[in-house]
């Protein structure tokens, strides 16, 4: 048996260069290649009537394409878009169908033509090894050497090394000009709009929420007072400050000692921004008191300070300490005491 690591490939006889065949087994008595299969004659080759028929079919398909093109032109004019939204559908459908016919007619016609009427004899063409012949390679080496000696690239070390240095450094200015793509991160990821005394208002109207409006089991989507009137950076602030407000039975809340004062009469407020990758945790399941993020299904238990009970998130949702002002409106005691949203390096 053949198959030594360095065996020369016998299969490459037709090629100038023999490559190692590696682990290949080269059987001494491979079954002989019988050569190309005999050509199968098509009906259109045998019968002129069939060929004529195929010719008509191809022409019919091309004509169908012509009809399609005209239909599309007509549809563009005949189905204008008006205030009525249904006209968009008609325009889309008939313009599209016309173009479909116009394109498929050409495509199917051309392929049908090739398959029925053009010769279907398989042709064999020789391949050449990708590797150049010894002569060509020698010539190439000669050229490189000549270029080297003419330029003195190998000989003149000083030029070569300073060139390397220059080439290594020239991209740096090109990179530094991207420096102003964004500002320094600074403290912005740790701060939100919430301050002591900021009223909790409804998203998106900005109407303040009275503690008495928050009935047992209800859930409010909350933004800080003033956000709905902002013009600049509204979405950036909202992306950090969005809050979910829920009222539970005081008994079902398992509050930690140091956070007892953060809720008001069973009303708790938590950041709505998922600590996984930042989707809004918008789904509240009333009977389990679970908050669910619809993006990756991280689930947080509101009764346990929004501890993660399921899914890829790692940290609980930050809690917003709340209180009630003199008029009975819910207000924040302070900003969040930890950064909201996804984890990041500096936090």
């Amino acid at each position: 048996m053949a198959g030594k690591d360095l065996e020369k490939g016998s299969e490459a006889e037709g090629f100038e260069h023999d490559f190692e065949s590696g682990l290949a087994v080269l059987p001494p008595d491979k079954i002989k290649d019988p050569g190309l299969e005999p050509h199968r004659v098509r009906m259109t080759d045998k019968s002129p009537a069939k060929a004529k028929n195929a010719e008509r079919q191809v022409a019919a398909l091309f004509l169908a394409s012509v009809v399609g093109s005209f239909f599309a032109l007509w549809a563009y004019v005949a189905f204008p878009i008006t205030e009525d939204l249904a006209t968009v559908r008609a325009n889309n459908l008939f313009l599209g169908l016309g173009m479909t016919l116009s394109l498929l007619g050409i495509g199917i016609g051309a392929v049908h033509w090739a398959k029925t009427l053009m010769p279907d004899f398989e042709v064999t063409e020789a391949r050449h090894q990708t590797r150049g012949s010894e002569e060509v390679r020698a010539k190439a080496v000669e050229i490189v050497k000549l270029a080297d000696s003419e330029s003195g690239f190998s000989r003149r070390k000083l030029i070569r090394r300073t060139l390397y240095g220059a080439l290594a450094l020239f991209p740096l200015p090109a990179l530094i000009v991207f420096g102003d793509l964004g500002p320094q991160v600074g403290n912005s990821l740790r701060q939100t709009m919430w301050k002591a005394g900021t009223r909790l208002t409804k998203d998106p109207t900005g109407v303040p929420i009275k503690a008495s409006d928050v009935t047992l089991g209800s859930v409010f989507h909350v933004i800080p007072e003033g956000l709905s009137e902002m013009h600049e950076h509204k979405l950036e602030e909202k992306a950090k400050a969005a809050v979910l407000l829920v009222r539970l039975n005081q008994e079902s809340l398992n509050e930690a000692e140091d956070r007892k004062g953060w809720s008001y009469d069973g009303i708790v407020a938590y950041s709505k921004i998922c600590t996984h990758v930042g989707c809004p945790v918008a789904l509240y399941e009333q009977h389990t008191h679970h908050l669910l993020c619809p993006c990756h299904q991280s689930t947080f238990d509101v009764t346990e300070h929004c501890r993660v009970v399921f899914g890829p998130a790692s940290r609980p949702l930050p809690q917003l300490p709340i209180a009630v002002d003199a008029e009975g409106y819910l207000i924040a005691q302070s900003d969040f005491l930890e950064p909201v949203g996804p984890s990041f390096w500096e936090r």
Partner: protein, 547 residues
């Protein structure tokens, strides 16, 4: 070819044009060398064509869209014809996307054609990659072209994602939010990259215009360059062909470019375009008007990315929780880092595979005859494992929909997916490899003893036999023409040392080739035929050979 004339002929306008072009760009020489170039024919070779043609459709429909789309995040109050959103505050980008859909004739059609052909582009490129993988078309001399194709696949995903975010609707904004969350999780540079990308805090007012620049200039330019290299190398190497009679590593068997391939491939472009148009005319894709403008607070349940991003989203979902590490005052969010690193490793393995297999076989010959997948059982098994891994991640992007649709617990669906992600690839490997080996055994059986016909014949002396119909020589050759390897053993190198590399290579070669079915040799065939004792076979054999 009568159109090629190198000197003035009496022919009409065509000849005159050909002459004009030849004297200026040498078109005669080009046609002489390319006009009858041979291309092998097989349906699986059309997958790459589909990808190429969908890219052309993307360029055409995308150019149309740039005439109407405005990449600005300046807020306006919508005053278009889509009544439910009238008066809503939204970005100009979203408003202009709505206008393309509802104000411009053919705008909806072009938007849908663009989106559908983008989905098709990545799908066709992915299937083309699988075809190349499972048939071993990546072997020498095509390893570099595999890398080029791999880059095209990755760029396809990048083009898709950057385009997906441009309408600035709620769904795409949430997609960006997820990207931002992932980027922020990268150690050391994460927050700076996020700030640079969004021009400050998320979402900012820059990102849409920046993605637009990438989407319509940088990414398509790179794709074009890589397509040019990809096709240039196809010309250099000439296309592979499947094993069969008359097909060797030294020739290429197929139909000539002119006229057959020009008609078939040209026609096929129109067919792909036509099918995309048919789908765009009849099926809605990405109804952005249903989602509303981007707002960081609301989100719709059952959010789904475009299919080609699904595997990355699934990876995010399957990551185990509670693994975040706080170390030396810094956070390592494993819920983001595991999926990120895991998917990069997966991609790296895909890119590196041709080099790994080449190292194991040490086969330095050129391979132009494709393998049938069964004839490379280990490679096919590895491919099946990779497909399973990708497939589980992809399915995991729909855990919530699966749970809702099949009325199952979301938690159970997720846990099952997590187990499948680990176990599935191993199971797929073993099952696929064993199936391949069985199929090879069946091939051997058929070559040596012919096909079972189900005809039971009673011979004059009372013996019952089943008639086996032998193969004709062409069919037989298809079943025996494949390359066979066997494992190597650990050997000391010239210095007498056994290196770690040689141990690994020997172990891998055992994994690949320990179980192998060798192709039938002539002596085995002669031996088997001499055992034939049934006259029925002998006669049918005769018939076959005289045919």
């Amino acid at each position: 070819m009568s159109t090629v004339v190198t000197e003035k002929k009496q022919g009409g306008a065509l000849a005159a044009t050909a002459n004009y072009l030849d004297e200026r760009v040498g078109i005669g020489g080009i046609l002489k060398s390319f006009g009858r170039k041979v291309f092998p024919d097989h349906w699986s070779f059309m997958l790459g064509e589909v990808a190429l043609y969908s890219f052309v459709i993307l360029l055409i429909s995308g150019t149309f869209l740039t005439f109407f789309y405005q990449p600005s995040m300046t807020e306006v109050f919508y005053d278009g014809s889509y009544v439910p959103l009238k008066g809503t505050q939204m970005s100009i980008a979203y408003a202009s996307s709505l206008d393309i859909s509802f104000e411009i004739r053919g705008g909806m059609l072009m938007r849908q054609a663009h989106h559908w052909s983008a989905l098709l582009f990545v799908a066709a490129a992915g299937l083309h990659m699988l075809r190349v993988f499972f048939t071993g078309a990546f072997r020498k001399p095509r390893e570099i072209n595999w890398l080029v194709g791999f880059m095209l696949f990755v760029l396809g995903m990048a083009a898709g994602f950057t385009g997906y975010s441009l309408p600035d609707d709620l769904l795409s904004g949430n997609g960006l939010r997820i990207i931002d969350g992932m980027i922020k999780g990268i150690p050391v540079i994460g927050t700076s990259i996020s700030s640079g990308l969004f021009g400050g805090e998320f979402p900012g007012t820059e990102i849409v215009a920046r993605l637009y620049g990438l989407h319509i200039l940088l990414v398509p330019a790179l794709i074009l360059i890589f397509i040019a290299i990809h096709l240039f190398m196809v010309v250099i190497h000439k296309h592979t062909h499947y094993s069969g009679p008359g097909r060797t590593d030294e020739n290429v068997v197929g139909y000539p470019l002119m006229p057959v391939y020009v008609a078939k491939a040209g026609g096929f472009f129109f067919i792909v375009f036509g099918v995309v148009m048919l789908i765009s005319a009849t099926f809605t894709v990405n109804p952005i008007w249903n989602y509303g403008p981007y707002d960081p607070s609301p989100v719709s349940a059952g959010t789904q990315p475009d299919w080609y991003i699904g595997w990355l989203d699934g990876a995010l979902r399957l990551a185990p929780s509670h693994l975040d590490i706080a170390f030396l005052g810094h956070t390592y969010p494993m819920g983001v880092l595991i999926p990120l690193v895991g998917s990069l490793v997966f991609l790296a393995l895909v890119a590196a595979y041709p080099f790994i297999e080449a190292w194991v076989t040490a086969d330095k010959r050129e391979h132009h005859v494709l393998d049938r997948p069964r004839n490379a059982p280990t490679r096919t098994g590895i491919g099946a494992a990779g497909v399973t891994f990708y497939g589980v991640l992809w399915a995991a992007a729909s855990t919530d929909l699966i749970a809702t649709f099949f009325k199952m617990s979301l938690n159970h669906v997720l846990t099952v997916m997590q187990i499948m992600l680990i176990v599935g690839p191993f199971a797929a490997y073993v099952i696929t490899k064993r199936t391949c080996l069985s199929l090879q055994r069946k091939d051997r059986e058929i070559v040596l003893h012919g096909r079972e016909t189900g005809r039971i014949v009673r011979l004059p002396h009372g013996e019952y036999i089943e008639v086996h119909e032998p193969l004709d020589k062409f069919e037989m050759y298809k079943l025996v023409d494949f390359k066979d390897y066997r494992p190597t053993v650990v050997r000391p190198n010239k210095k007498g040392k056994i290196t770690v590399g040689s141990r690994v290579r020997a172990a891998l070669s055992r994994l690949y080739f320990e179980d192998r079915i060798a192709p039938v040799t002539q002596s085995e065939l002669t031996e088997a035929q001499s055992h034939d004792h049934s006259p029925a076979i002998a006669t049918s054999n005769q018939e076959q050979l005289t045919k």
